[in-house]
């Protein structure tokens, strides 16, 4: 495994939890190996208890590997200085309830030794980005789970990290927040940031990840680029524009003749997420926003600075090119 442009390298990584008498109790991670490269979105998937969180905690230095080698940004996970380039969103919002949203972000920004001016600018932009600019002076204890999650996300990005580790980032978020997080992940990747995403919401992972590793029982069961893993090697899909029935019949007849069998015919549909987002977008044009988290804005300026060039259409083009190359 090369460490050229590798942000995380895990080799034969194991973690055994021991009891008070130092007897092995649980083997949470069992000799896994994977590599996360710079600029990619890497997904760690697996059911509960599969070892995802344990792996992330080892990457952050919260747990020490029992065996194996782990390098983060070329350093040991316990290296304090390397953490200045990492942003972390834990699986639950571990925040100080007595602090306001602004104070929370300011606290984390101070841990990165940011100047007062930088802190002020970034806090404003991040609160705007997560739709909480009007609740900056409310204490976290008054927040809903989703609002606290948004503050957690903002705090993970306060240092404009090179490596973003997101543990169940969409947990507790409404579909709008979920969409925004996914857009944000894509935006970060466009800027060359590396994202390590842990989730058991497969649709989230499918939408944003370049490569994934599926864990089960502390072992890696599958690993690779997501499109390769999901592709049916023995099938093609052809999308046709809407056409009159006689034309359609002609196309089907031609296919029958070539294939020698009846082709499947189905009408494409939006997924529920798309439908929900369209409905809310229409509703927003008609009424005032609700209390609590406001409508989400664009990605914070300091996070989006270098990403503007990559427009959504450019993204689509790039994906088509990838597909053709494959």
């Amino acid at each position: 495994m090369s460490d050229n442009e590798s942000v995380i390298i895990a080799e034969n990584l194991s973690k055994v939890f021991r009891d008070f008498w130092n007897r092995p109790r649980v083997k949470a991670v069992n000799g896994i190996s994977f590599e996360v490269r710079q600029g990619e979105v890497f997904g760690l998937l697996g059911p509960n208890g599969s070892g995802k969180s344990t792996t992330i905690k080892m990457i952050l230095g919260l747990l020490h590997p029992t065996k194996g080698n782990l390098r983060v940004m070329g350093q040991s996970p316990r290296n304090v200085a390397a953490k200045s380039r990492i942003g972390y969103l834990p699986e639950e919002s571990y925040l100080y309830n007595y602090l306001t949203a602004e104070e929370t972000l300011d606290f984390y920004a101070r841990l990165f030794d940011l100047s007062k001016r930088e802190r002020k600018e970034r806090i404003g932009q991040l609160l705007h980005m997560v739709g909480l600019e009007h609740t900056g002076r409310r204490t976290i204890g008054e927040f809903s789970k989703g609002m606290a999650r948004r503050i957690g996300l903002a705090s993970a990005l306060i240092n404009d990290p090179d490596l973003v580790i997101l543990d169940e980032p969409t947990s507790g978020l409404d579909p709008l927040g979920t969409r925004q997080v996914k857009d944000l992940i894509l935006k970060l990747a466009e800027r060359g940031k590396t994202v390590l995403l842990s989730s058991h919401l497969l649709s989230d992972v499918e939408d944003v990840c370049d490569r994934i590793a599926i864990l089960y029982g502390g072992n890696v069961r599958a690993q690779g680029p997501i499109r390769e893993l999901l592709r049916f090697e023995d099938r093609y899909q052809v999308n046709l524009p809407v056409m009159e029935k006689p034309e359609l019949e002609r196309v089907l007849a031609a296919l029958r003749e070539v294939m020698g069998q009846e082709p499947d015919l189905d009408q494409p549909s939006r997924n529920l997420e798309q439908f929900f987002l369209e409905t809310i977008a229409k509703a927003r044009e008609e009424v005032e926003p609700t209390s609590g988290a406001g409508p989400e804005a664009d990605v914070a300026e300091f996070l989006a600075e270098e990403a503007e060039a990559a427009t959504p259409s450019a993204q689509v083009d790039a994906r088509i090119e990838d597909l053709l190359d494959d």
Binding site: F17, L60, L63, A82, K83, S84, E92, Y94, L95, L111
Partner: protein, 435 residues
């Protein structure tokens, strides 16, 4: 430092917003207002003020000590338990900086609370003593003051005496005493002998040397306490204090009660040009008298205003709290809250036991546990400073050196060592273990 102060500032915000600080002010106000109302004392204002200083400050220290130890234990252990610390240690901040930030927060909160308690108790004291009347003068000369205490000169023990004592002890088959301790043993025996003043005209003298310049407007006092060496129906005993070497030197006849601390004003002119004075006690009672060596006799004279002494005492209380905060934080960074609390209380108990060993040094000399006691004594010995509250209540000056050495030893040295050992272990701790 920005990172450390970030930790400090949120810990202080927590203390204020969780209302701990406000809640703590209630017992501290009680110490200043409630305790004086409950104290009866010996009927004199001087006695009442002495007790008040001891009880009010003692009560405040006890409350703040318990809360500091508990807060120290909870500060890190709770964050580990609630996983709040995960988002902190995943940032570029070392665990030592986290510890230091929390410690500074405890120091700042304690400093403010000690200052609050100090001002409240001082205000209560002034209010209590406003109607002291005739006692006002005595009060300000003996309690609400800061006097230097000069002990009497101890007898010198010549080398020949040490040698012959040692050889005699060996000849008599007495338990062997290390040669370096023989001189102390002889000195103590001499002082014990001198403390006994025989009945019906027996005399004992003590020599004093006053190196400081005495202030004209403040008196010079002799402090003493004695016991009667026989069962007596009356506890009062007649005697004469003589100040000087000559038989016709100034004298003060006294009729004083046993087992009480006495202070008498003595003529300053009895001190010669070299600052020396010989003070003799003539026992006129029908019983032998034993002068209590713990109370001198000693000379006392004014050095500085009471407020200065009071602030020194508060500083020493604050240093003690800083030490407790370090113990609590270290225990809390290594164990869960209940275990950390138990460990901390055990350590404080050991420290107190060290004070006991200080008084009874012979315990460390014998028995199977001797080496353990000796080690404990060595470890806790430097922590046993003077009792600031007792000194304050007796109007004794708290030496600036005592304050400085307490800061150097207790705050810098011991807290530093505790922090280093604690952080060595804290760094190795896996704080992401599922609970």
């Amino acid at each position: 430092m920005n990172r450390i102060f970030a930790i400090t500032s949120i810990a202080i915000r927590n203390a204020i917003r969780s209302k701990i600080v406000v809640m703590l002010m209630v017992p501290l106000i009680f110490a200043a207002v409630g305790i004086p109302l409950m104290i009866k004392g010996d009927g004199t204002m001087v006695g009442k003020v002495k007790i008040l200083l001891n009880y009010s400050l003692g009560f405040s220290l006890a409350v703040l000590s318990i809360v500091t130890l508990w807060s120290g234990c909870a500060s890190i252990s709770t964050e580990i338990h609630e996983k709040l610390i995960h988002t902190v240690v995943s940032k570029p901040i070392s665990r030592f900086q986290i510890w230091l930030g929390k410690w500074f927060a405890l120091l700042i909160v304690n400093f403010l609370l000690v200052a609050f308690a100090g001002i409240a108790i001082y205000g209560g004291l002034r209010w209590q003593t406003r109607l002291a009347g005739e006692e006002q003068e005595t009060l300000h000369q003996t309690v609400l003051t800061s006097r230097k205490m000069v002990p009497h000169i101890e007898p010198t023990v010549p080398d020949e005496m040490v040698k012959s004592y040692y050889e005699e002890a060996l000849r008599q088959g007495r338990p062997e005493i290390p040669i370096h301790r023989v001189r102390n043993t002889i000195k103590n025996e001499l002082l014990d002998r001198r403390a006994v003043v025989r009945k019906e005209g027996g005399e004992t003298f003590w020599l004093f040397e006053v190196k400081d310049k005495l202030r004209e407007d403040h008196p010079l006092y002799l402090r003493y306490r004695f016991d009667l060496l026989a069962m007596a129906s009356e506890s009062e005993s007649p005697g004469i204090w003589r100040f000087g070497k000559q038989a016709d030197s100034p004298q003060i006849p006294v009729l004083h009660e046993a087992q009480l601390i006495h202070e008498i004003e003595i003529p300053k002119e009895s001190i010669d040009a070299d600052g020396r004075v010989m003070i003799t006690y003539v026992n006129q009672s029908s019983m032998d008298v034993l002068m209590d060596r713990n109370y001198g006799p000693s000379l006392l004279f004014y050095r500085e205003p009471f407020v200065v002494n009071y602030m020194k005492a508060l500083l020493m209380l604050f240093f003690q709290l800083a030490f407790l905060a370090a113990i609590g934080l270290t225990a809390g960074s290594l164990f869960s809250l209940p275990v950390a609390a138990l460990v901390s209380f055990f350590l404080i108990l050991l420290q107190s036991f060290g004070g006991f060993l200080e008084k009874y040094e012979q315990i460390t000399q014998s028995g199977i546990l001797g080496p353990f006691y000796k080690f404990l004594h060595m470890l806790t010995g430097p922590l046993q400073g003077p009792n600031a509250m007792e000194q304050l209540a007796n109007g004794n000056q708290i030496a600036a050196m005592s304050v400085v050495s307490m800061f150097l030893i207790k705050v810098l040295l011991y807290c530093g060592v505790i922090a280093l050992i604690g952080n060595l272990l804290f760094n190795r701790r896996e704080i992401g273990i599922p609970s």
